[in-house]
C-alpha cells in the first residue's frame, strides 16, 4: 500500500513537472487573441485591417468637432458660431488663434492621427503575414494603408511641423523605438517619408475605375498622385506638381458644383479622396459631423458651430454658384425643401456638412471630401504659373470658374494670376479644411486674418503648438514650436 502511494506521488510529481508549462497555456476567451492571426488569413480578413483605417476618419477627434475647430474655425473662412456663451470646449480660443500647448483640440488631433498611423502600421505588419489571401488584393491593401499613412503624416506636418516618424510597430521594450516615438523629425524628413510612402502606394494601387460601385471610396492610384502633387505644392516643387497632376487621370469636374456635397453626388467623378458616411441603419457616419455644424436655436437641429464668415461671404464674386452651395443662409429654404427659420441663432451655416436625411443625427450621410479633381486643376494651374506657363494656367483656372458659372478671368500677369488662383482656391475649396494651411503655405496669412479681424503672429501661428502631453513624455528629446 505504502509503496503504491509513494510511487503515485512520485509519478504525479514527475508528470506535473514535465508538462506543467503546457498545462499553464490557457486559451484566451475574452477577446480574439492576437496569436490567432490565422482567423484573418483570407481575403475578407485582410481587408478588415484596412477598413479599420478608413474607420478612423469617422472618429469624433479625427474628422469631427476638434478637427473642425482646428482646421476650419481657425481660418478666416469660418467663425466659431453657435451661441456666444457656448465655447464648444475650446472653439472660441481656436477662432481667436490664442491656443497654447494644452489646447484640447491640438492634443486630440495629434493623438487621433497617431492612432490612425498605428492602424496603418498594424495593417502593414499583418497583411504580409496573411499568405492565404489573394496576393493582388494584399498588394492593393498595402497600397491603401501606405497612402493613408502618408495622408496622415501630411496632415500632421501641416499642423505641427516636424513630428516623430513612426514607420513600424514599436517594440515597447526597445530604446531605439522609444526614441523614435519621442523625437520630432525635421519637416524635410517628414516630407521625404510621405513622398516615399506615396510612391510605394502609387505602385500598388489600382485606378479608381477598377473598384466596384460599393468600394468607390477606396483610395486609388489617382488619389496617391493627387496627394503627391499637393505634397510637392507645399514644398514648391512646381515641375513635380505638374507632372503628378498630369498623372491624375480618369476624373472630371462635376457640372453642378452643389451636388458633390449631397448624397446623390457622393464619390462622384470629381472625388479623389472622400470620407464616406452613412446615416441609414446600420448607421456609420462621421461622428456628429453634421450635428455640430447644423443650425442652432429654435427651429434648428444642431450645435451651430463653424459658421461661414463675413470675410468668406465677401470673397464670392457676384453670380458664383458656389456661394449658395457652401453657405446656408437663415430664412431660406434648402434644396430639399427644408426651411431654415429666422429664429436660428446664426446668420450662416456650413451647407457642405448638411445631411438631408439625417440632419440632426449622430451618424449622418454627410461626407468629407479631402481631395477632388478641381483642386488638382488648381494645383496644376498654380505650378504652371510659377513655371512661367501662365497662359496654360489661365485656361485651367477658367475651367474652374466656368463650372461655377463665372466668366473667364480678366487677369493675365503672372502675379495677378497667382493671386487669382489663390482666391479661386478659397471659394472653390471653402469648408473643405484647406484654407488655414493654404494661407500659411502662400504667405497670405497675416493680411488675410487682419481682414477677418484676427491677429496672426508670424513666426508663431504658422504652426500649432506641440501638445504638452507629448512634450512631457519626450522629456527634452523634442522641443516646442516657436512662440508657444
Amino acid at each position: 500500500m505504502k509503496n503504491i502511494y509513494i510511487s503515485m506521488f512520485a509519478l504525479v510529481s514527475l508528470l506535473f513537472a514535465g508538462c506543467a508549462d503546457d498545462y499553464l497555456d490557457v486559451n484566451q476567451t475574452e477577446s480574439v487573441s492576437t496569436d490567432d492571426i490565422e482567423l484573418y488569413n483570407n481575403n475578407a480578413g485582410a481587408e478588415t485591417f484596412v477598413t479599420a483605417i478608413y474607420n478612423k476618419f469617422l472618429d469624433w477627434d479625427t474628422t469631427s468637432f476638434g478637427w473642425i475647430g482646428l482646421a476650419s474655425i481657425t481660418s478666416d473662412d469660418a467663425d466659431k458660431g453657435s451661441s456666444p456663451g457656448d465655447a464648444g470646449t475650446d472653439k472660441d480660443i481656436l477662432d481667436a488663434l490664442t491656443y497654447n500647448a494644452s489646447n484640447p483640440s491640438c492634443r486630440d488631433i495629434f493623438k487621433a492621427y497617431y492612432a490612425g498611423i498605428n492602424r496603418c502600421n498594424q495593417a502593414l505588419n499583418i497583411i504580409p503575414q496573411l499568405d492565404k489571401a489573394d496576393a493582388g488584393l494584399r498588394s492593393r491593401l498595402m497600397g491603401e494603408a501606405t497612402f493613408m499613412r502618408a495622408f496622415m503624416y501630411f496632415t500632421l506636418v501641416k499642423i505641427y511641423g516636424g513630428v516623430p516618424i513612426v514607420d513600424h510597430l514599436p517594440n515597447p521594450s526597445s530604446l531605439e523605438d522609444k526614441n523614435m516615438l519621442l523625437t520630432r523629425k525635421p519637416v524635410t524628413e517628414v516630407y521625404a517619408f510621405i513622398e516615399n510612402d506615396l510612391n510605394t502606394a502609387i505602385a500598388a494601387l489600382p485606378l479608381k475605375s477598377a473598384y466596384s460601385a460599393d468600394e468607390k471610396a477606396r483610395v486609388s492610384k489617382g488619389s496617391a498622385y493627387a496627394l503627391l502633387a499637393k505634397v510637392n505644392l507645399y514644398q514648391k516643387n512646381w515641375q513635380k506638381v505638374v507632372d503628378n497632376c498630369n498623372l491624375v487621370t480618369g476624373y472630371s469636374l462635376v457640372p453642378d458644383y452643389a451636388t458633390m456635397f449631397r448624397l446623390e453626388g457622393e464619390n462622384g467623378p470629381e472625388s479623389i479622396f472622400e470620407i464616406n458616411g452613412v446615416g441609414s441603419v446600420p448607421a456609420k457616419g462621421i461622428r456628429q459631423y453634421s450635428q455640430v455644424q447644423a443650425p442652432k436655436g429654435t427651429g434648428g437641429w444642431g450645435w451651430g458651430f463653424n459658421t461661414p464668415s463675413q470675410s468668406l461671404l465677401n470673397a464670392y464674386e457676384p453670380g458664383d454658384v458656389r456661394k449658395d452651395a457652401t453657405i446656408i443662409f437663415r430664412g431660406t429654404t434648402l434644396y430639399d425643401g427644408k426651411l431654415v427659420p429666422n429664429t436660428v441663432q446664426n446668420e450662416r451655416y456650413n451647407y457642405k456638412a448638411y445631411s438631408s436625411n439625417y440632419s440632426g443625427a449622430d451618424d449622418s450621410d454627410a461626407n468629407v471630401i479631402f481631395i477632388r479633381y478641381a483642386e488638382v486643376l488648381l494645383m496644376k494651374a498654380e505650378a504652371l504659373n510659377e513655371l512661367g506657363q501662365t497662359s496654360d494656367a489661365i485656361s485651367l483656372l477658367n475651367q474652374i470658374r466656368n463650372r461655377a458659372k463665372l466668366p473667364n478671368t480678366t487677369f493675365s500677369s503672372q502675379d495677378d494670376i497667382r493671386k487669382a488662383i489663390w482666391r479661386e482656391r478659397r471659394v472653390e475649396l471653402a469648408f473643405e479644411f484647406d484654407r488655414f494651411f493654404d494661407l500659411v503655405r502662400t504667405g497670405q496669412a497675416k493680411t488675410a486674418f487682419a481682414a477677418d479681424g484676427k491677429v496672426f503672429t508670424e513666426g508663431k501661428n504658422e504652426l500649432f503648438p506641440i501638445p504638452e502631453a507629448f512634450l512631457n513624455e519626450a522629456k527634452g528629446l523634442s522641443s516646442q514650436n516657436p512662440g508657444y
Binding site: D21, E30, V32, N118, K178, L182, K216, N267, N276, E473
Partner: protein, 1007 residues
C-alpha cells in the same frame, strides 16, 4: 525518535515481560472532547511495559488488570489508572498551560501555537457566532490586530478584509480564503455556525507557503467535525430587528422652501407647505432577521460525522429588499484502516434575494419634503412646483431627483445562486513519522437573475399629469423599446488538488524536525456569463418564458461571455525545526507557475524564513515565576499577488466603415500593446513579534512590528502618444510601502469558581504610502465619481508620497461674508470662487485608509450568566459626504444647514449662503472618518439542566449589535465599503447602505 527510545526501553524490559503473566490490555486515550490522542504514552511500572497510542489514540499494552497505568502526553495532565480487562477509555485533561495545548492551522498542516514562529491570529468559533451577522469576516471585526474589516450591513454583501495594509492599487485586494482546503475568494456561502476555527495568516513567513496568492494575507477556515461517542444534536435559533444606527436630520418642507427660495432669490416655494415628507422613513421599514440552525454530529470508532442545516432570512430596512440563505453541510471522517483516513466534506448554499437600488438612499436624501409620496390622484409625487408654491402634478420641475418610493416599487429584480463546495482528503501514514496527504476540493457556483422594467408605470411615475393612453401613444410615435426584461446567468467551476508529505521526528530528544513537501494545482475554471435583454416582455412574470415562442425579434442585447480561465501549478516545501523546545526555525519555499502570464514570466519562487526563541525556557528564566511565556519571533519572506489586471492582447473589432456603397465593411486592428514581462506583484515583508503570558497566564499579549514593501505594483501606463496605442497598458511601475505595529493584550481571571472575567484589546497602526513610480507617465485614475461631473480621488504620477485611496480635492476656504459664496484656495494661496478654479488648485487631502484601528473586548461569567461587550474603532481615515455634495440644484438640505446658512442678515453663519448649482468636490464635504462603535453586547443565561436530561444544554441570550457609535461624520455611516475598490466609492457616502443597529434574542440547545 520517541518510538526509538521506547523501543529501546521495551527491549531492556523484555526479559521481565517474558517472565510475567501479562496479557494485552486494550484501550483508547482521548481528550475531553473525545478525540483520540495520538502518541500518548502509556507506561506501567508494575508490568514494566510501555506503549504508544496510535494515530487515533488506541493502544495495547502488556499488563495485568489492576496494574497501574500512567498515561501522559505533552500538553495534557498525566493520569494514573488501574488497568482493566475490558477495553479502557482514558480521558486526559488538557494541561493548564494553555499555550502548550493551542494549535494553529498553518497551511498544509498544523503547529502548536507555542512552536509557531509566525504571526497568526486565531479566532475561535464562539467569537464568530457571537455577533449575529451573515459573513464570518464581518464578525471578526476588531478581534484581530492588523486585520481591518470594512463591512456593510447590506444583506449578502462581502466585507473587505485588509491585512496589514493595502499593497496593490489595481490588483485583487481580497485575502485568499482556504475553507477546508478549498482556495476561494468569498465566504458568503459559509454558515458561521459551521466554523470551528478562523485563522488569519498575517506575516510573510506564515504566508509564503501560499506563494503567488498570499500577498493580501490568507484566512484559513476549518469547519466542524463530529466528536464524542454519542449523537449530539445542537440547535441555534435567533430572531432580531434591525434599524439604522444613525439618521441624518433633513430640513422640513418649510425650511426647504426658505432655503431654496433664498438660493433662487425668488418666492417660488410657499413657506406654509401642506406636505412634509420624510423620505428616509418613506423608503425604510424596521428590518427583521432570523436564523435557525440544526446540527447533528457524533463519532463511532471508524466514522465521525457532522451534518448541519441552516437558514437565514432577512427583511432589510430598505423597502422590498429581502434576502435568504439556506446552507447544508456534511463533514465526515472515515477511518478506513489503521493508517488510512478519509475526510470528506460537502456544502450546499443557496441564496435568494430581491435587490433594490441603493441609490434610493441618495434620492431620498435629496428629494424635497414638499413632494408627497403620492399625489391626491394616486400617482407618485414628483418635484414639480405650481403657481401656489406647492408641489403638484403639472407645475415646473425644480430638481432632477426622482421619487425614491416609486424607484423601489417599480424596481423588479430577483437573484438566486447556488454554491456547491466539496472536498476529499486522504491521509495515509506511511511510517509513524511520515504521512502522505492528498486533497481535492471543488467549487461550483451558479447564479441567475432577472430584472424587469415596467416602462409604462416608470414613465407615469415621472409624468403624473399623463395617462396610460399617453404612454401608448408615445410607444407608437417614438418606437422606443419598452418593457425590457434582462435575464442573466452565470456559472463557474473551480478546483484544486494538492498532494504532500509530512515528516515529523524528534532526534536525540532535542532536535524536533518537521518537513512538508508537496505539489498543488488550482484551476479557476472559465466564468461563463449570459445576459439577454429583450423588449416587449409581458407585464405578468408568469408569461415571460412561453413554450415554443421565439423571441429573436425582441432581443435588444445578447451578451455571451466566457472569461479567461486561470491555472496555477505549484511546488511547496517547509522545514520546521525546534531545538531543546526553545529555539525555533522555519523555512518555507513555494514555486508557483501561473497561466495569467507570458511563458517566460510565469514561474516565481517565494521563499520565507522565521525564527523564534522561547526565552522563558532558558535556565536563567527558571526562577522568574511571573513569566509563563516569553517568546521572541521574527521572519522575512516574499509573497505574490497574481490577481492582477491581465494584459492579454486582443484584436479590436467593430471598426467598420462604408467604402462607397451600401456594404458595411468590417474593420479590425490592434489598439493595445502588451508588456510581455507582466507578472505578479511581489511583496517583501520583514516582521518581528513578541508573545508573552504573565502572572499565571492571566495576562497575555502580543506585540508585532512589520515592514512590507511591494516594489512592482501594477498601474496602468499611458502608452506614448506617437505609438498610437490608445489603451493604457498595465506595467510594474509603482512602489507601495506598509509599515506598522500591532499590540494585543488580554487579562483573564477567575475570582471564584462562579465568577470569572476578561478584558482585552488590540491596536494596530499602519502607514500606507505610494513611495515611488518609475519613469513613465501613468494613465490617471480619476475615481470616486459623484455622478455630477465631479471626482473625489486621483492617482497619477503626482500621487507619490500619498497613501493609496487618497482624496484629491479643492480646498474650501470659508465663504465670502459679503455674498455667502463658497471660496476655495487657489494654488497660489489666494481665495476664489469655484468658476476660477483649475485642476492645479486641487490637493491631496488624506485617504480613505485609516491609520489605526482598534478593538476592545470585555466579559464576565457569573454562575450561569455570561456577559460580553466588544467594540471597534478606527482613526485617521477620511470620508466624503457624497450625497450632500452631489447637488445639481433644488435638492433638499440638512436641517443643520437650513437653520444656519449665510444671509445678508446672518453673515457669520456656519454654512455658506444658499446655492442652487453643482458644487465642486472640495474639502467642504470631506470629514473625519474616525469612529468608535460598540459592535456587540451579549447577555446569556444557561438554564441549570442536568446533563443527562433530554435537553442537556440550553442557553438563552439577548444580543445588541452596533448599539452605540461615536462618530465625527455628519452622514449616516463612516464605514463605507461600497464595492471595496479604494478608487471607486469606498469611503464616499453615496448610494450607501446605512450601518444598522440590531437587537436579537436567541437560544442554543443541545440534545
Amino acid at each position: 525518535m520517541k518510538n526509538f527510545i521506547f523501543s529501546f526501553l521495551a527491549l531492556l524490559l523484555l526479559p521481565t515481560y517474558m517472565m510475567g503473566q501479562a496479557q494485552a490490555i486494550k484501550g483508547k486515550v482521548v481528550d475531553s472532547n473525545g478525540m483520540g490522542i495520538p502518541g500518548a504514552i502509556i507506561a506501567s511500572a508494575d508490568a514494566r511495559a510501555t506503549a504508544d497510542a496510535d494515530f487515533d489514540g488506541n493502544f495495547t499494552i502488556n499488563a495485568k488488570p489492576g496494574d497501574i497505568l500512567k498515561v501522559s502526553m505533552l500538553g495534557f495532565d498525566a493520569v494514573s489508572v488501574p488497568a482493566t480487562a475490558a477495553p479502557m477509555t482514558i480521558t486526559l485533561k488538557e494541561a493548564g498551560d494553555t499555550a502548550l495545548k493551542e494549535v494553529v492551522v498553518i497551511g498544509y498542516g498544523t503547529r502548536k501555537k507555542v512552536d509557531n514562529t509566525t504571526a497568526i491570529s486565531s479566532i475561535k468559533a464562539e467569537e464568530i457566532t457571537k455577533t449575529k451577522v451573515l459573513n464570518a469576516s464581518q464578525a471578526i471585526q476588531g478581534k484581530a490586530a492588523g486585520v481591518q474589516v470594512i463591512s456593510s450591513d447590506l444583506p449578502g454583501s462581502t466585507p473587505s478584509v485588509v491585512i496589514r495594509g493595502l499593497g496593490t492599487a489595481l490588483g485583487g485586494r481580497n485575502p485568499l480564503y482556504i475553507v477546508d482546503g478549498m482556495q476561494t475568494e468569498n465566504i458568503n456561502n459559509i454558515n458561521s455556525n459551521d466554523i470551528t476555527s478562523y485563522e488569519v495568516l498575517k506575516d510573510a513567513s506564515a504566508l509564503a507557503i501560499y506563494g503567488t496568492r498570499a500577498a493580501n494575507g490568507v484566512i484559513i477556515i476549518t469547519t466542524k467535525k463530529g466528536k464524542g461517542d454519542k449523537v449530539s444534536v445542537e440547535i441555534e435559533s435567533f430572531a432580531g430587528i434591525r434599524e439604522p444606527l444613525k439618521k441624518v436630520k433633513m430640513a422640513g418642507s418649510n425650511k426647504f422652501a426658505y432655503y431654496t427660495n433664498s438660493a433662487l432669490q425668488t418666492t417660488t416655494f410657499s413657506q406654509d407647505q401642506p406636505v412634509n415628507t420624510d423620505w428616509f422613513d418613506a423608503i425604510t421599514r424596521t428590518g427583521s432577521y432570523t436564523q435557525n440552525n440544526i446540527s447533528v454530529s457524533g463519532a463511532s470508532e471508524n466514522i465521525k460525522y457532522f451534518f448541519s442545516l441552516g437558514n437565514y432570512e432577512e427583511k432589510a430596512v430598505l423597502n422590498g429588499l429581502d434576502y435568504g440563505r439556506t446552507t447544508f453541510r456534511n463533514n465526515n471522517e472515515y477511518k478506513i484502516s489503521k493508517k488510512l483516513t478519509l475526510n470528506q466534506n460537502f456544502s450546499f448554499t443557496s441564496t435568494n434575494s430581491t435587490p433594490k437600488p441603493l441609490s434610493a438612499f441618495t434620492t431620498a436624501y435629496k428629494q424635497s419634503p414638499i413632494v408627497p409620496v403620492r399625489f391626491a390622484n394616486g400617482q407618485y409625487g414628483v418635484s414639480r412646483v405650481g403657481e401656489n408654491g406647492f408641489a403638484n402634478t403639472t407645475g415646473s420641475s425644480f430638481n432632477n431627483v426622482g421619487n425614491p418610493v416609486a424607484q423601489l416599487d417599480l424596481y423588479n429584480e430577483q437573484q438566486k445562486s447556488v454554491t456547491l463546495q466539496g472536498g476529499l482528503k486522504l491521509d495515509y501514514e506511511i511510517l509513524p513519522s511520515l504521512k502522505f496527504t492528498s486533497q481535492f476540493n471543488g467549487e461550483y457556483y451558479t447564479w441567475k437573475q432577472y430584472n424587469f422594467e415596467d416602462s409604462e408605470n416608470i414613465w407615469l411615475a415621472a409624468n403624473p399629469d399623463k395617462t396610460a393612453a399617453d404612454f401608448d401613444q408615445r410607444v407608437v410615435n417614438e418606437k422606443i423599446p419598452y418593457n425590457l426584461l434582462t435575464k442573466g446567468r452565470e456559472e463557474y467551476f473551480n478546483w484544486n488538488l494538492s498532494n504532500y508529505l509530512t515528516f515529523n521526528k524528534v532526534f536525540n530528544q532535542i532536535h524536533d524536525v518537521e518537513l512538508t513537501a508537496g505539489i498543488e494545482t488550482s484551476v479557476r475554471g472559465p466564468r461563463q456569463k449570459l445576459t439577454i435583454v429583450r423588449k416587449n416582455a409581458n407585464t405578468d412574470s408568469n408569461y415571460w418564458s412561453l413554450k415554443d415562442v421565439d423571441y429573436v425579434a425582441n432581443i435588444t442585447s445578447y451578451k455571451d461571455e466566457v472569461f479567461n480561465e486561470t491555472k496555477l501549478a505549484s511546488y511547496f516545501g517547509r522545514f520546521q525545526y525546534k531545538l531543546k523546545d526553545r529555539y525555533l526555525l522555519t523555512g518555507t519555499i513555494r514555486r508557483d507557475g501561473s497561466s495569467n502570464f507570458a511563458k517566460d514570466y510565469r514561474w516565481g519562487t517565494f521563499p520565507a524564513f522565521g525564527a523564534g526563541w522561547i526565552i522563558n525556557k532558558e535556565s536563567f528564566m527558571a526562577d522568574v515565576k511571573t513569566i509563563n511565556l516569553l517568546k521572541l519571533r521574527g521572519g522575512w519572506g516574499k509573497l505574490g499577488n497574481q490577481n492582477v489586471p491581465l494584459n492579454r492582447q486582443g484584436y479590436s473589432s467593430g471598426l467598420n466603415s462604408y467604402l462607397g456603397g451600401s456594404i458595411l465593411y468590417e474593420g479590425t486592428t490592434i489598439t493595445s500593446q502588451i508588456d510581455p514581462s507582466l507578472s505578479w506583484e511581489v511583496t517583501e515583508e520583514s516582521s518581528l513579534g513578541l508573545d508573552f503570558e504573565l502572572l499565571d497566564n492571566r495576562l497575555k499579549g502580543t506585540f508585532d512590528l512589520y515592514n512590507k514593501k511591494t516594489d512592482n505594483v501594477i498601474l496602468n501606463v499611458q502608452p506614448y502618444i506617437a505609438s498610437g496605442i490608445t489603451t493604457a497598458s498595465p506595467a510594474h511601475v509603482g512602489e507601495v510601502s506598509n509599515k506598522g505595529y500591532e499590540i494585543s493584550l488580554r487579562w483573564d481571571d477567575k475570582i471564584t469558581d462562579d465568577l470569572s472575567y476578561w478584558i482585552g484589546g488590540n491596536f494596530s497602526h499602519n502607514k500606507n504610502e505610494l513611495t515611488g513610480i518609475k519613469d513613465i507617465i501613468l494613465s490617471p485614475i480619476q475615481g470616486g465619481s459623484l455622478g455630477n461631473g465631479e471626482t473625489t480621488k486621483f492617482l497619477d504620477n503626482s500621487s507619490v508620497g500619498q497613501p493609496l485611496g487618497s482624496f484629491f480635492l479643492y480646498q474650501y476656504a470659508g465663504f465670502d461674508s459679503e455674498n455667502g459664496k463658497m471660496l476655495y484656495y487657489k494654488a497660489d494661496g489666494t481665495k476664489a470662487t469655484q468658476d476660477a478654479l483649475g485642476t492645479a488648485d486641487k490637493k491631496y487631502v488624506g485617504s480613505i485608509l485609516p491609520k489605526s484601528n482598534y478593538g476592545v473586548t470585555l466579559g464576565l461569567n457569573y454562575k450561569n450568566f455570561d456577559f460580553s461587550v466588544d467594540g471597534y474603532g478606527t482613526s485617521g481615515a477620511k470620508v466624503y459626504n457624497g450625497k450632500k455634495g452631489q447637488r445639481f440644484g433644488g435638492e433638499n438640505i440638512e436641517d443643520s444647514v437650513a437653520t444656519d446658512f449665510w444671509t445678508i442678515n446672518n453673515p457669520t453663519a456656519s454654512n455658506p449662503g444658499a446655492f442652487n448649482s453643482t458644487p465642486v468636490a472640495s474639502t467642504y464635504y470631506l470629514e473625519s472618518g474616525d469612529f468608535f462603535r460598540i459592535n456587540n453586547i451579549t447577555l446569556g443565561y444557561k438554564l441549570p439542566l442536568d446533563e443527562k436530561s433530554f435537553i442537556s444544554y440550553c442557553r438563552l441570550y439577548v444580543n445588541a449589535i452596533n448599539p452605540f457609535i461615536t462618530q465625527k461624520f455628519s452622514g449616516f455611516s463612516p464605514e463605507l465599503n461600497a464595492d471595496g475598490d479604494p478608487y471607486k466609492l469606498q469611503g464616499v457616502e453615496l448610494d450607501a447602505y446605512p450601518t444598522l443597529r440590531s437587537f436579537v434574542v436567541g437560544a442554543n440547545l443541545k440534545f
